[in-house]
């Protein structure tokens, strides 16, 4: 996993002050309508009882998985993963089936439930600000984060940074970098002071979620051909057996009258 060279986010939940500058910046940069968002905050929020309290929340957007489930699931291949990291959605191919929304373990793709046929109902999701990273800028969310809770850079560098922080401040963090291996590795790594479940993150193994589905799909064509062959063979065999039975019966019929005549 760590030898993948591409752009990655690192989110440090202990630094995030839930100011939402990232969210405003994303809305402006990507011209998102007021009733939609590509980026959101989720988590248990306030934990505990007065006065023993704690806050836990996380900034969510697309995880830009290394083995994207949306990419695997979309029937028309509207998703692609660039070599440098971003998982890109192509509205020109989308048929609006929303299977990608099911496939994504993080609930990232959002759909235009308020758009009819004329305006066109599409999926929207974080694009890693490709219009910015392609000209050497950083994604809008991370560029404006006042506390540096959102970081961006090369995956191996950020993984090293994350692990260095875990080593340097073990009391501050849970000893795990989420996204390093989950779902086969994501391009959004998370450090946290609370269990990741409390940030709303699903528990995922390092086996990519899409592996089982793809394995089954992989056997489809061989299976279909095999099954077709079996059925054809059966049909032919049954037909031949029946034909023979018929022929035998006819022989019996034609021979019996002869026997009768002979009598």
């Amino acid at each position: 996993m760590t030898d993948i060279q591409h752009k990655t986010f690192l989110f440090d939940a202990t630094r995030c002050i839930d100011c939402r500058a990232c969210m405003v910046a994303c809305s402006v940069e990507n011209k998102i309508p007021m009733n939609k968002t590509r980026i959101w905050v989720a988590g248990v929020g306030l934990k505990g009882e007065f006065p023993a309290l704690e806050r836990a929340s996380m900034v969510y957007h697309c995880m830009h998985c290394n083995e994207p489930d949306c990419l695997s699931a979309c029937p028309v291949g509207a998703y692609s993963k660039r070599l440098d990291g971003p998982v890109i959605y192509d509205p020109k191919k989308c048929i609006g089936c929303r299977y990608c929304m099911n496939a994504c373990p993080f609930g990232v793709p959002h759909f235009d439930y308020d758009k009819g046929l004329i305006d066109g109902a599409f999926i929207d999701k974080c694009s890693m600000c490709t219009q910015r990273i392609d000209v050497g800028l950083e994604p809008a969310c991370m560029a404006t984060c006042p506390t540096g809770a959102l970081m961006f850079g090369e995956r191996d560098e950020l993984l090293k940074y994350a692990h260095d922080r875990l080593t340097a401040q073990p009391a501050r963090y849970l000893n795990h970098v989420y996204g390093e291996s989950e779902n086969g590795g994501t391009s959004y790594l998370i450090l946290s002071h609370v269990p990741f479940k409390e940030l709303g993150l699903p528990e995922l193994s390092s086996t990519p979620v899409r592996d089982v589905s793809e394995a089954v799909m992989g056997v489809t064509i061989p299976f279909a051909l095999g099954w077709g062959a079996v059925l054809t063979g059966t049909a032919v065999g049954v037909h031949m057996v029946n034909k023979k039975k018929e022929a035998d019966a006819q022989k019996l019929e034609t021979s019996e009258p002869q026997a009768e005549e002979k009598k």
Partner: protein, 393 residues
């Protein structure tokens, strides 16, 4: 050659027709609203529930209940058990209309119904949904071809009927392969949601379970459709045939039970059978209603030989299996624990279908019923064809 023109009795339920037409009209209007103002205008679907009632009812259930067609085609044409011929045409009609309803429902549910043909030109070979889409489109064509002779006979184009029938075999085989693929693939659709589908249902062998249960659903649908048709169209019930179908059902249900509980055991998920709260209840409901009860009922000869027994048994199985389809595609899909969300419109994590949402599906189903009735009235669907050319099924 003596053409027999049977005059079918009229529908005696005129009020029913009016109701069905009204429901169709309502669904049409709602669909127009959907096209104008978006899916959200007529349903409670949301980012938390991208698939719910429409997919569970129209796609999952709709495809499952259309599985009688390939079974009967296989039985009659591949295994040449010619005695079942009377059941082929109605089951093909049921299948054809069933799949038509699926496609029409998809035209409402898809964000871009005008792009439904993109699945033919843009292929992502890892996508289960692509496979289902292509299979359904192909199989609908196959069903159309399999049913075409009935239509041609009805309009007295005997030569066309004849022609198609000569080449029916490859289509039957294709139909069985396609059906096997997509009946099982409906289960495969859930393979990509291991974290979201409750452990009592998610398993890598979901496609196998779906196929096995689809066989029982198909057989039950034939029994059900025959029973209902006999009552409403005043025809005889081929009990001797249905009894034989019913005899097979317990065997397949037993196989299903075996596979299912072995799978749960090997996966170490038996504990969820009693600790899952509502999930456990739903699971046991499925198993008891859809598997155990019909298994017992159809093991009893007396029930198999009685019209009421057949009807009730099939209904129970269908209800239980439809519950299974709903569980897998909707009820057992886990959603995250309630969290604090910002912006607050992200907090919409609850779902219950809206009335327009349900009415669309009801209207489409009504259209299917009406089409079935019309076909029965004007086409030789229930012809047994003994006194016609042997060429027609």
């Amino acid at each position: 050659m003596n053409l027999q023109i049977k005059i079918h009795p009229r529908f005696q339920l005129k009020p029913l027709v009016i109701i069905l037409l009204a429901l169709m009209g309502l669904a049409f209007v709602i669909a127009m609203v959907r096209y104008a103002n978006g899916i959200g205008a007529v349903s409670n679907l949301s980012n938390s529930y991208p698939w719910a009632f429409w997919i569970s009812f129209d796609l999952f259930t709709g495809v499952a209940i259309s599985s009688g067609a390939f079974l009967m085609a296989a039985v009659v044409y591949i295994f040449e058990l010619k005695e079942f011929r009377p059941l082929v045409r109605p089951s093909v009609l049921t299948g054809f209309l069933g799949y038509m309803m699926v496609v029409i429902a998809l035209l409402v549910d898809l964000g871009h119904p005008e792009r439904i043909w993109y699945m033919i030109i843009h292929w992502n070979h890892t996508s289960v949904l692509l496979e289902i889409g292509l299979c359904v489109m192909s199989y609908l064509t196959v069903l159309a071809i399999e049913f075409a002779p009935v239509v041609f006979e009805g309009i007295k184009w005997q030569k066309f009927a004849h022609f198609i029938h000569r080449f029916i075999m490859p289509f039957v085989i294709l139909g069985v392969v396609l059906s096997t693929l997509h009946q099982s693939s409906l289960g495969s659709l859930l393979l990509i949601q291991p974290a979201k589908l409750y452990p009592l249902w998610w398993t890598p062998i979901l496609p196998i379970l779906f196929f096995v249960s689809a066989v029982t659903i198909g057989l039950s649908m034939i029994i059900f459709e025959s029973s209902i048709s006999a009552r409403y169209f005043h025809r005889g019930l081929e009990i001797h045939l249905l009894e034989k179908l019913a005899k097979v059902i317990p065997v397949i249900l037993a196989i299903y039970l075996l596979i299912k509980f072995s799978q749960l055991t090997l996966a170490g998920d038996l504990k969820y059978l009693f600790t899952g709260g509502l999930m456990s209840v739903l699971f046991w409901a499925e198993i008891l209603i859809g598997v155990v009860t019909p298994l017992i009922l159809f093991s009893i000869k007396r029930i198999r030989k009685s019209p009421n027994g057949l009807l009730i048994g099939s209904i129970i199985l269908l209800l239980g299996m439809i519950l299974n389809r709903f569980d897998v595609s909707w009820f057992a899909i886990q959603h995250p624990d309630p969290l604090t969300y910002m912006p607050t419109f992200m907090s919409a994590v609850h779902y219950f279908p809206s009335l327009p949402e349900v009415l669309v599906s009801v209207g489409i189903f009504s259209a299917g019923l009406l089409a079935f009735g019309l076909a029965v009235k004007y086409l030789p669907v229930f012809e047994t064809n003994e006194d016609q050319h042997d060429i027609v099924s």
